[in-house]
């Protein structure tokens, strides 16, 4: 479904990705792991349309989408959930969700909002409070709600566990698994490699912007090199 063909990209003079190839098949969860600065987040930014590749192609359902912007990507079914500050703090929870109405109709929004509120019942009482008042975990769930509302084909998820407590991380990952079972593909970047690989069908190990190792999630979890380098023993 998604295919990165020898992508080279970077910021100004600095080349972060060089000749990188990545494939995400329909219905798959693919996890990118690797040390800091390996270019994991940059991969997502290129696919999301935030950063233009200098060389190579991004193919989505065999269409070249390397040069289209974020708005266009969402219309085609690619949703990017960035890391850290991924909701608007001064807007209320409902208003944050309302922004999805740029892409879907009022009635569809109401219908899917019900699904969101069943999945995250805590939201009901807080719909009108500012998103800035939420804790990190709840904020991440609010950001993930966009997946329920927009029903994309592919979600690009950057460090969903960043700065969250282990209990909340489990919650978030079970939400991801549920959504994946509904047929939504995920391209996941995760610092917590063990957690990321455990939900992934396949994984890629990036190093200095290149593809070092690849294999199924389970294979990588038991691979001696990966274990030594990224899983802490």
């Amino acid at each position: 479904m998604l295919k990165l063909e020898s992508i080279t990209a970077g910021y100004g003079e600095l080349t972060v990705l060089s000749e990188l190839n990545i494939v995400v098949n329909k219905g798959e969860t693919v996890c990118l792991i690797g040390p800091n600065g390996a270019g994991k987040s940059t991969v997502l930014r290129v696919v999301a349309g935030q950063l233009l590749p200098t060389k190579g192609k991004v193919l989505f359902n065999n269409q070249d989408i390397s040069r289209t912007d974020c708005t266009h990507k969402i219309e085609q079914g690619i949703l990017f959930v960035p890391q850290g500050r991924n909701v608007f703090p001064s807007l209320s929870l409902l208003e944050n969700l309302n922004l999805c109405q740029i892409f879907i109709s009022e009635s569809l929004f109401q219908e899917r909002l019900d699904t969101v509120l069943t999945t995250f019942p805590w939201m009901k009482e807080k719909l009108h409070s500012p998103a800035g008042s939420l804790s990190g975990g709840l904020r991440q769930m609010l950001a993930l709600s966009r997946i329920f509302l927009l029903k994309p084909k592919l979600v690009l998820l950057d460090e969903p566990s960043l700065g969250l407590s282990p209990l909340v991380v489990d919650d978030i990952f079970s939400t991801i698994s549920t959504l994946n079972q509904q047929g939504i593909s995920f391209l996941l970047v995760e610092q917590n490699a063990r957690k990321g690989l455990s939900v992934a069908n396949r994984g890629y190990v990036l190093e200095s912007g290149q593809n070092r190792l690849t294999g199924s999630g389970q294979e990588l979890l038991v691979n001696s090199e990966v274990t030594r380098l990224y899983l802490g023993g």
Partner: protein, 290 residues
């Protein structure tokens, strides 16, 4: 009674200052710079009406307001397109200085066409209503109604419409707004239009109450800047509060110091606010339009 009269004059003037301040603060919250050419939008609003009310157009005064507002919108969009948009990735100081340069250009344009003398509109709209000793002119009444109307519309726009919510999102973070698929360019244009409409209408009403002078833009710009600082930079409701405060303080002040020093108030306030409460009255650590 005398003080009450001054207080009412203050509220009326303050409402219009608030209109200017809100435009200034919205442009700041989206583009992160103070547009010093904002005063010239006010002055062009006032002179625009004069332009369309005199030959060769000779429209009635009230009808001239509409083409004048359109003219000011065009100026605002042009300055965005030709100056601010190309500079959008540079330092805020660069944008600030560009806007100062632009204000000189626009002011000189006014002087070139209309001359440096004082002008006033040819109208007989200066009667007043007597409310048990309090005098309120029709012009003041119009200023008051218009300010209230504009703020109600603005409130509905920001809190009820998708465009308004998008505007607030953009002011929280332009980058994240892009990721959310918000059409940031369209939102930018919209912010400039609101800023221009508010400036031009307020400029016309103030000129109707007093007179037209090519330097009027600068004076009102300083007052709205003080209002913005007072309310907290980037805060729409702070700008409303700040505008009202400036209006009331400067009018009440005329009871104690000569009216010739009326404009002093804004400058003194700017210094005091920057010294003691730089984040403004409603300012907080969370930025953005509320």
């Amino acid at each position: 009674m005398y003080y009450l009269q001054l207080f009412i004059n203050g509220i009326v003037a303050g409402g219009v200052y608030a209109l200017f301040a809100v435009g200034l603060t919205m442009v700041y919250s989206v583009f992160r710079f103070i547009n010093f050419a904002h005063g010239e939008l006010i002055a062009w609003g006032a002179y625009g009406v004069l332009l369309f009310a005199s030959p060769p157009f000779s429209l009635p005064l009230w009808l001239s307001v509409f083409p004048a507002i359109l003219l000011v919108i065009a100026i605002a969009l042009l300055q965005n397109h030709m100056v601010f948009a190309p500079l959008r990735n540079s330092q805020p100081v660069t944008l600030l200085i560009a806007s100062i340069g632009l204000s000189f250009l626009l002011r000189s344009g006014l002087q070139l066409y209309f001359g440096s003398d004082l002008h006033s509109y040819q109208t007989s709209f200066y009667e007043s209503i007597d409310l048990g000793g309090l005098m309120i002119s029709y012009v003041q009444l119009a200023m008051l109604c218009l300010s209230i109307l504009f703020f109600v519309i603005l409130h509905l726009l920001l809190s009820k419409t998708l465009t308004g919510k998008s505007m607030r999102a953009v002011s929280d973070s332009m980058e994240l707004a892009g990721i959310y698929g918000i059409p940031t360019r369209k939102v930018s244009v919209f912010v400039w239009i609101i800023s221009a409409v508010f400036a031009a209408s307020g400029g016309f009403l103030l000129a109707l109450d007093t007179s037209l002078d090519p330097m009027m833009g600068l004076t009102f710009m300083i007052k709205s800047f003080a209002a913005v600082l007072l309310g907290g930079v980037g805060n729409v409701w702070g700008a409303l509060l700040g505008g009202l405060c400036i209006g009331i303080i400067e009018n009440m002040g005329t009871a104690f110091i000569s009216p010739g020093y009326k404009d002093l108030t804004a400058f003194v306030l700017i210094i005091v606010i920057l010294l003691f409460r730089p984040q403004g009255i409603l300012g907080s650590t969370i930025r953005g339009v509320r």
